[in-house]
Symmetry: C2
Subunit: 330 residues, 2 copies
Amino acid sequence: MTIYDIAREAGVAASTVSRVINNKPGIKAETRRKVQNLLKKYNYTPNAAARGLVMQSSRLVGILIVDIRVTHHTNSAFLIEKELTKRGYCCIIMGTGAEDEQKARYIEILEQRRVEGVILMGSMFMTEKVKESIKRHLPEVPVVIVNGYLDLPNVSGVIVDEDSGMEQCVDLLWSKNKRKIAFVLDSSSPSNYKKRQGYCDGMRKHGAPEDALWLYESEESSLQGGYDTTMRIIREHPDVEGIIYSIDLIAVGGVHAAQDMGYQVPEQLGLIGVNNSIYGEICKPKLTTLDNKLHELSESAAGILWEGLEGTVKSKKMMLFSKIIEREST
Amino acid sequence: MTIYDIAREAGVAASTVSRVINNKPGIKAETRRKVQNLLKKYNYTPNAAARGLVMQSSRLVGILIVDIRVTHHTNSAFLIEKELTKRGYCCIIMGTGAEDEQKARYIEILEQRRVEGVILMGSMFMTEKVKESIKRHLPEVPVVIVNGYLDLPNVSGVIVDEDSGMEQCVDLLWSKNKRKIAFVLDSSSPSNYKKRQGYCDGMRKHGAPEDALWLYESEESSLQGGYDTTMRIIREHPDVEGIIYSIDLIAVGGVHAAQDMGYQVPEQLGLIGVNNSIYGEICKPKLTTLDNKLHELSESAAGILWEGLEGTVKSKKMMLFSKIIEREST
DNA sequence: CTGTTAGCGCATTCAG
DNA sequence: CTGAATGCGCTAACAG
């Protein structure tokens, strides 16, 4: 069903139908009514591709997420989608996969769809290949990275000070007389490296020698990964007094391991996660966590993208501040 | 940058450029090379809207999710997207919101984008309004509902026997000498009503009188909701011996409430959730849960949609069987 | 092997 | 107030 089909049956020209569809003024009430009836009768819906082609605009925003199973990313996407949908844009969410190749590939796919704005979810998009792909395929379109940044004229970033947040976590444990503190990374991402850096800085600030920096990496970013890694820490350092994890989920695995090994949490061993996620609330004892302000991050990102969509595209960098939520595990 | 721009600079016709782009045979190697160089030089990418318009095909599949924050739905979407992307389709995921109006609205949006297939995630899409909207806007396109079904010629459904699964949960508690069993609903959805039905049937099967059917509804589908509802149950029925919840998350809230009230789980009070989610593994004691076969459900849905995309569209109905994962809470 | 032509469905001139 | 003509970027049929 096209406007021509409608036009023919209504005995008018296609342009008249188009005008009715778009609520343009200057149509006789009777004609309008007649066309509208036909529109309804045939459940006519305009073809977005054709319309986008002639209007030179798609009203499409792409949201790229490395792994849509990751709760804190979909939570964020949810907020952003709500915000942008309210403002008349159509959001399409896509899971890219972790490979750099794929992330770059999806940026090209977004160009093919001629999106007018892009949200990149997470620091995992801070790579050279992604940067190159944006420069190549979307040099004029506003792009906002949630918890990341790339130095390009059309790319903005909203980041959170996870490094200094981590320092505060070290401070917190230190204030509870925990001195032997390990750090566990769940995966390789710029955000996680920043956290690790914050841990190291915090430890050094308190005068800890280099060999007191116990750095661990979990095999996988899962409950089991956190469990296994914590077991390893306890085996290698039975005198450990505190462990900071790069995300809540593996921290919860750590809580389980500590309990299975008979360590009292928090008296004997203080545990901290990151994200202020539901996992920390489910856990028993409830997990102390670094709130990295996901909600505010998303709202800011949506706001900045909105500015870019409406006005002139420019690069912007914004920082938010994390905050410790102290619960029962410290 | 269009094929005309490329054609002009290459000194050939646009159709030649098109042929090169689409790897059609019958182009002199030299011409092909010359065009390809220009294509690369300008980072040319075809406009999907224009191509879709002339080819009468979008290679687009829409995945509708009521709330993209719900883990078991995004997990499912992840699997489906992976499957369909592998097969050359571009998946766009959208969060519709819970209102019936919105769900129907998004179906229209999918028609505008001329998608070639649709996945509806969850039984929440089993409503008259959605059915009407499909009939109106997508009567020819293959639609697959994950854990649901609508009686329309182009709609298929993969469902799981959550009702009989629930009966088994009752059996399990009964076998542990729990007789006073309550049931908690986390939200209104056909899937949840089926679960409730299964609970009722199970209780009756064991000869429980009607007034032994303790039906509860949580204010909200959250940890807190499960906690509060469980508190209410304990207050109203201090002699309760078992509680079955429609999803893991609120069951975990129940575990917390039971512990806070000094009930021994599982000795005194047996608790069961549904979904076999990570929440149940985090929880202490670990939650017994009804595995509703999310993974298989998703794979089947992707498979059925694939058949519809490639062959003739028809309606199909498929049933999978749930299975109890017994852990520490029963 | 390549160019010309037409048309996908729509919005927007410009006439009338 | 309405119609005819044009073009958005692309592919395909038909010539040559």
